[in-house]
């Protein structure tokens, strides 16, 4: 019998300080996340300097808890996987330098991981991946369709040309005076309202790219015009109409790409994957396509965590990727270049 592969994962790209231990790329032994959301609520968004300060306060506490819960020692760890980018540079540096310190102290191999590769590999903690696979990545900073021909082989076939879906959610939430973070509030409101308002969909025919800035402006204009006419718009209806537009485009493009590339699996990834409306619409959409398996990770694996970074790191490590002690945070890291 082969020895189990144990990976320690570290993630600090935004406002969660996270560490996790996983076995053989698939099994979570521990998954610890210290969220800073309460601190950033005061400012109505993530403040990079504050995020970095919190990461320094939390990093060793989170690491200790992850190792204790997993019940492993340093000699059990095959590699340390850490998010090297993209993300907030000052935040990334905390995880990267903590990872390098442990790697140096115990002579453990180090593997830099792309944050989005991590989100995609959260799916491998749910079920084994089958290729080719298509991943719909939707988060605060990303809206992408990524094709995986095999493990660790990423091709971006579509991406947003302006705002990420999550960004549009946050801006619309602010317009509706909803508290930060706005995404879950819009999702909740949308279920109470009717999608009765006409809002645009950016189809960008002939490509799998997305665009949400026009929709965002349309929402703001609709509210503004109604105000000028002295009419009242039900926030729930506006939220429902906005959400319907976003989801219709996301689901339609994902369905088209999945069929065009003849994929075996569609993997939902990223923080916006927690959106109930999106989950329901995707499930509906793929119901009739019985030869394509739709994988939707549980909520705690969709938001930022280190188990997903360890899962991606597990595959990269197996494929021979090694990072040196000169590894640095890279806020603009490209997923297609991130393999080696």
């Amino acid at each position: 019998m082969e020895k189990d592969q144990i990976i320690l994962g570290i993630e600090t790209s935004c406002d969660e300080t996270a560490a996790a231990v996983i076995k053989n790329g698939k099994e979570i032994l521990s998954n610890v996340v210290a969220s800073q959301i309460e601190s950033h609520k005061r400012f109505g968004g993530v403040v990079p300097e504050i995020a970095s300060r919190h990461h320094v306060e939390q990093m060793t506490i989170v690491l200790e808890e992850a190792l204790n819960q997993a019940g492993i020692g340093y000699s059990d760890i095959d590699a340390i996987a850490v998010t090297e980018g993209p993300g907030l540079v000052g935040a990334l540096l905390i995880g990267v330098n903590a990872a390098k310190a442990i790697a140096f102290a115990h002579n453990i191999p180090l593997v830099g991981v792309h944050h989005i590769a991590g989100h995609i590999y959260a799916n491998r903690l749910v079920t084994e991946m089958k290729f080719p696979a298509l991943s719909l990545v939707v988060s605060g900073g990303h809206t992408e369709l990524v094709l995986l021909k095999e493990h660790g082989d990423f091709t971006v076939i579509g991406e947003t040309r302006d705002d990420a879906a999550g960004e549009a959610y946050d801006k619309v939430a602010r317009t509706l005076h909803l508290p930060y973070p706005g995404g879950p509030h819009i999702d909740r409101l949308a279920h109470e309202g009717n999608p009765s308002l006409k809002l645009p969909r950016a189809w960008l025919e002939g490509s799998y790219d997305f665009s949400f800035s026009g929709l965002k402006s349309a929402v703001i204009n609709t509210l503004h015009n109604a105000e000028q006419r002295g009419e009242n718009i039900e926030p729930a209806d506006l939220a429902a109409s906005f959400q319907e537009s976003v989801i219709e485009v996301l689901v339609t493009k994902t369905l088209q790409a999945a069929q065009a590339y003849d994929v075996k699996q569609v993997l939902l990834a990223g923080g916006v994957a927690a959106n109930k409306g999106l989950r329901a619409a995707l499930t509906d959409g793929f119901e009739s396509l019985s030869d394509i398996e739709l994988v939707v990770p549980p909520l705690y694996l969709c938001t930022d965590n280190a188990a997903m970074i360890a899962a991606a790191g597990s595959v990269l490590f197996q494929k021979g990727k090694r990072s040196s002690l000169a590894l640095n945070g890279n806020p603009g890291l490209d997923i297609e270049q991130s393999m080696f």
């Binding site: 200790e64 390098k100 002579n107």
Partner: protein
């Protein structure tokens, strides 16, 4: 006891290894290059050159600021993580205090400084009592001119040290006149060997709760606190 000292709090990067009362290895650069990329390779190199293994390290000492927010966090993160993972004590030393140590033979008071932009400096006031370095005024952040006015009242010769002193020399001299002395450039760099020896004497602190001394609040937090008071 073998101590590893790390300073990335300002422009210069410093690593030292001290054993007993001897500095056995020291590395300093004062160039515009990325600290995050370079510190760990520098530590690995120095430890290797001194024929040591990580298991030989018995204490970690780190410059805890003030300085560049990002810079000081890089050193503190590495120091905290090393101390925690090797299960050895961690001591912090003010980045200004060990720079003040370069003024060891000056009879008077010592004001080490780092530029803090817009005419401001990070500084503190120190004095040697025999071989012991004493703090007279805690590390702070203020306009160089305001600081000069504050130390004028001590009526003593004062030595300014640090790579950023030329930026503020004129302002300080205008107020302090002949009482202001300026260290020669060879003494500008904070010396990691001094950091190691000062840290060796200090008690270990709780590793998890160890934080940099930023001296200043984050801008967003200061603004938020201001709004709460209004």
């Amino acid at each position: 006891m073998t101590v590893l000292a790390i300073d990335t709090s300002n422009f210069s990067l410093g690593i030292a290894l001290a054993k007993g009362d001897q500095v056995i290895g020291e590395y300093i650069t004062n160039i515009k290059k990325n600290h995050s990329l370079r510190v760990m390779p520098a530590i690995e190199r120095l430890v290797g050159d001194c024929d040591l293994k990580t298991a030989d390290l018995k204490k970690i000492v780190v410059a805890r600021g003030p300085g560049s927010y990002t810079g000081v966090r890089i050193g503190v993160t590495i120091a905290k993580t090393l101390a925690w993972t090797l299960n050895i004590p961690l001591a912090g030393v003010s980045s200004l205090e060990f720079l003040a140590a370069n003024g060891r033979y000056f009879t008077g008071i010592v004001s080490p400084l780092f530029d803090a932009r817009r005419g401001q400096i990070f500084t503190g006031l120190y004095r040697f009592n025999g071989n012991r370095l004493e703090t007279i005024l805690e590390d702070t952040n203020m306009l160089a001119t305001e600081w000069a006015g504050k130390i004028k009242q001590y009526n003593q010769p004062v030595l300014f040290i640090g790579n950023d002193t030329p930026l503020h020399k004129e302002a300080l001299q205008n107020i302090l006149g002949d009482a202001a002395f300026f260290a020669p450039p060879a003494l500008y760099n904070p010396r990691p060997g001094e950091l190691a020896l000062l840290g060796m004497e200090k008690e270990g602190e709780d590793i998890h709760s160890f934080v940099p001394n930023y001296v200043r609040l984050a801008e967003a937090e200061a603004k938020w606190l201001g709004q709460q008071r209004d």
